[in-house]
Amino acid sequence: MQDIKQRIKISKFWNGIFWIIGLMSTLIGLVLLLVLMIDLFTDGAPRLSYKFFTSFPSRFPEEAGILSAWVGSFLVLLVTAGAAIPLGVAAGIYLEEYARKHWITDIIEINIANLAGVPSIVYGLLALGLFVYLLKFGESILTAGLTLGLLILPMIIMATREAIRAIPGSIREASYALGATKWQTVQWHIIPYSMGGILTGIIIGLSRAIGETAPIITVGALTFIAFLPNSPFTSDFPFLSFKWLMDPFTVMPIQMFNWVSRPQKEFQLNAAAAGIILMAMTLLMNGAAIYIRYKFRKRIRW
């Protein structure tokens, strides 16, 4: 009896110990994240000013800014969104709603799982061979945008599929019972109801694209750009121009990388300031994604 009581005590003791170990392991990453943010902020905050956003990079750290970098990031992201969103959502819809069990769908499925695990720099090599030299897009905004588009495509496909899978079959059957065709069902029911999940996936994908550095380096982004791409708006008809697609560019993470790799302390402070902006964008977009997911989950009751 005494023996058993002793054993229970020991078991409970270790159970309690693990409570603490588990909690600590969970918190260690978060503490590090917090330290990282404080470190970035104390280094970079003094450099953040209106001028920092409106100046080009410079040889003099106090005068250098991120104008060409944030404009570049914005334009690249436009191309990425334009390429990846329609393609990814359409592929997701096909795989969930249309695809029958078939060896081709099996291959597509294995393939997407594998693509999601391909290192981002390999996408950069693909883009270098395919977009830059084979298709002759050059080292341009178009190339970079398409590269990131390919990179986040599997994420968008998977998010779309997951969102669609959560819709109960009864919804589809109700629609078919009223005589709707497959596409009508998809258009009027499946897409609207899965919007929350799809949107979450898109935002998380784009936030990943903003911070992605390696593939953009391989397609030849420049680190020192003291001019802006052609404006997408023109004064004469048709008021839109797509010349900017072919312009050389730089993006935020590359500008930061360039500053980090310089030995001078002053440039590293600039890097921290650029890091603050990148972190802020990431937190904002991920926060928005979490909020949307939460909101849609609350609103929809099957």
């Binding site: 695990g117 693909l126 903003i210 990148l278």
Partner: protein
């Protein structure tokens, strides 16, 4: 009738979109194979795989990939020795111990660790962690494998923990209840019942972590130095496969030269390493779905 045609057209175009993902993989393989074919015509495969010196940019170039592979494996193993135990603890804690509300709040926050741009982590490893580590380890050089390895480990915790946790969640309640009924504590149930039952899922999570660590680029490119080093000493600077590709891409390398082709040779080595892990991981995850 026209309705039928329209439906058919829509289905076909959606199918083409889905097929585009296969096209991406095929072009990755073709581009890597094509560009590195040119490389292997000049450098024999034997020399490439067994040479211990990697100096392709020197006057008398040497093309042995081993230093880059050991560099990659070194940073990867440091990262894994941080991420695997921590990730597993987090998964066990969140799935078996933590209160529901705490888990709901902490999970999205934990995912943030994987969302932070890697260039920011690189900054942190080089300018924050390395100077701190140098206080404890005086021999540590300014660029080293240790500090980026640790940071990478923290970064991939959510990859390991979320898939492990999902598979622990999938273990049927009655199995756990059986264990509780025998008088086991939560800890005993977690380690003797839940983990063995969720084993293939946990293994899949580990593999995702491994493949992420092998392919990680910016952290090592910034903080590990750019020196191909055939060594497993974590205190020295090393260069990984990924960091080499970055180093060459930063310079101006003319299309078609042997230097240009080396990055594809490094790329195909990297792609092969991750492909093997990805396929094992996919197979394991498929197994979990069939298990119950």
């Amino acid at each position: 009738m026209s309705k039928k045609i329209r439906e058919g057209i829509i289905e076909k175009s959606l199918f083409l979109c889905a097929l585009s993902s296969v096209f991406i993989t095929v072009s990755i393989v073709i581009i890597l194979a094509y560009e590195s074919y040119g490389f292997f015509k000049v450098v024999p495969l034997r020399e490439f795989l067994t040479g211990r010196e990697w100096t392709p940019l020197f006057f008398e170039p040497k093309f042995g990939i081993l230093p880059l592979v050991t560099g990659t494996l070194l940073t990867t193993s440091i990262a894994l020795s941080v991420a695997l135990p921590l990730g597993l603890m987090v998964a066990v804690y969140l799935s078996e111990f933590a209160p529901h509300r705490f888990r709901e709040i902490i999970k999205p926050v934990l995912e943030l660790l994987a969302a932070v741009p890697t260039v920011v982590y690189g900054y942190f490893a080089l300018l924050f962690l390395t100077p701190i580590l140098q206080k404890f380890i005086p021999d540590l050089s300014g660029f080293n494998a240790l500090s980026p390895g640790i940071i990478m480990g923290i970064m991939i915790i959510p990859y390991v923990s979320s898939v492990s946790e999902d598979s622990m969640k999938a273990v049927p309640m009655h199995i756990k209840e059986g264990s509780y009924a025998m008088g086991a504590t939560k800890l005993q149930t977690a380690f003797k019942v839940v983990i063995p039952a969720a084993f293939s899922g946990i293994a899949a999570a580990f593999i995702i972590g491994i493949s992420r660590a092998i392919g990680e680029t910016m952290v090592v490119a910034i903080a590990a130095g750019m020196m191909p080093n055939f060594s497993i000493n974590p205190l020295e600077p090393v260069q990984t496969l990924t960091a080499y590709i970055v180093q060459v891409s930063l310079g101006d390398v003319p299309h078609g030269t042997i230097e240009y082709k080396t990055i594809f040779a490094a790329g195909i080595t990297l792609f092969m390493m991750t492909l093997i892990f990805n396929l094992i991981g996919f197979w394991l995850r498929k197994k979990i779905r069939e298990a119950y």
